[in-house]
Amino acid sequence: MDLIANHISHRFGDLAVLDDVSFTVSAGEVVAIVGPSGCGKSTLLSILGGLLQPTSGAPELRGSPPADSLNPLTFVFQDFALLPWANVEENVEFPLLHTQLSAAQRRAQVDDALRRTGLTDFRTTYPKQLSGGMRQRVGISRALAVRPAILLMDEPLSALDSQTRELLMEDFVRLLADGGMGAVYVTHNLEEAARLADRIVVLSRRPGRIREVVSVPMTRTERGEIAAREKLLALQNQIWSLIRNEAIDAEREVQHA
């Protein structure tokens, strides 16, 4: 199943946020969206996931999701969005409660999702008892439980410390390794984008337009090797040179607002 951003523009009142953004995320592909602060990355993700109605244009799907997918477009949120009154198991089961699955099937999917994220021993723990990294693992586990075709990740690591980010990045690489699941990954962090994405969509400052789409010329497995570090760094520098001046302008705009 492909996800298509078809000439999407959006305004919040008089404020133009996105301007004619078009690209396609093919089945199993990981596309990162980067750009200066306030360029509309998160807004674009909300529109792609059907949580926000664009002013013009539309998000579209082409093809069918996998037969077992209960929620083809599934979000992983920056702030985890866990129900504080539910334990880990209940949080992961939450999106399955309204489906046709039997209790046994739900249980099996929850068990599988918890196992894939290393949370099996924490199933009765409440979110407030978990570290930030573990909370995000619960968010990822909940997303996996519905067998998504495409993960929509809104800066999923930005609220975490650098060590936890590194560990979760390894998890993402592993989860996306077999190409069975695509992703749109919104981030400020160019290193994360270069490490995870097959293509990187670079947005201009507000209103966000596509400045460039950069392909990452390595497999994700290759990117984990030491020899690839130099190439990845060069790629990050290339993208940074595209957005640096606009990021400075955007920062000044925030300071003067």
Binding site: G50, P95, L97, Y126, K128
Partner: protein, 274 residues
């Protein structure tokens, strides 16, 4: 540029000074028995003053006299007669007001139409002292239990509706968006996200409405009732039986404390995740 004096280099043999601790205070923690000890102390002083004849028992009867009055009330059966009448009024009035308040509060919290209409009416009617409506309610509902129960229900309704819709408004929007992103149906979002999210505010509202109900039952019973703690207190006051009067006040206080305990228990059970 900031001008600073060059840093002094301490002599190697200069003795080190300990950094003074400045982080004390501003963390009030109540001791478990402190309040009870203070209460017992005040009662003991009060009793001692009464026994020594320092206080006229007509103006302030000693605690032992109040305890005797409560005992006599209990033995004579009058305590239960008055208490049951008050409890019935409070129970029915509170349940009616709470049910209506929860329904209307959720309506205002979830529906644009209900919000625009409901908030206007609640803002206009909430400040009215509900006891002022008792004569009108007697006119509408007749002399009997109905106007007293209706007064309590009205008082409880407005506070409940406000605490419910405030609680619904306070549910983090990211949780609702999360549920929507998984195509969770509206009714399930209300049941599994909004209800538990609003519950802390709703229980806090119950604490307030229990006090409102107690206040209104006493006022209503003072205006027109034969039985009830309010009627009993008024009657004792008219007869200058101040020990009986204070016995009624103590019973009201114990009732208020008991309701507070029940709500504490509910909070512990239902909000254990906090």
């Amino acid at each position: 540029m900031l001008d600073r004096a060059p840093a002094e280099v301490p002599a190697k043999n200069e003795p080190a000074r300990r950094v003074r601790f400045r982080g004390a205070g501003f963390v009030p923690a109540s001791s478990r028995f402190g309040g009870w000890i203070a209460l017992a102390f005040v009662i003991a002083i009060w009793q001692a003053a009464g026994s020594a004849g320092l206080v006229n028992p007509l103006f302030l009867p000693a605690p032992a006299a109040i305890a005797r009055a409560i005992y006599q009330l209990a033995v004579s059966g009058a305590l239960w007669q008055h208490l049951s009448a008050s409890l019935l009024r409070i129970g029915v009035g509170w349940l009616l007001g709470t049910t209506a308040g929860v329904v209307v509060g959720f309506g205002i919290g979830l529906s644009r139409l209900a919000r625009s209409v409901g908030i206007t009416f609640i803002s206009a009617l909430f400040p009215i002292p509900k006891i002022a409506l008792l004569p009108l309610l007697i006119l509408w509902l007749g002399i009997g239990e109905e106007p007293k129960i209706a007064t309590i229900a009205l008082g409880v309704f407005f506070s409940t509706a406000i605490s419910v819709y405030s609680g619904v408004d306070a549910v983090p929007r990211n949780l609702i968006r999360m549920a929507q992103s998984f195509n969770v149906p509206f009714a399930t979002i209300v049941r599994k996200v909004i209800w538990p999210g609003a519950l802390p505010a709703i229980l806090a509202g119950f604490r307030i409405t229990a006090s409102v109900a107690l206040l209104l039952v006493v006022s209503a019973e003072m205006i027109g009732a034969q039985y009830g703690i309010g009627a009993f207190v008024l009657q004792a006051g008219n007869l200058m039986q101040t020990d009986q009067l204070l016995a009624g006040v103590v019973i009201l206080s114990v009732f208020g404390l008991a309701v507070g305990r029940v709500i504490n228990w509910l909070e512990t059970r239902l909000l254990h995740w906090r």
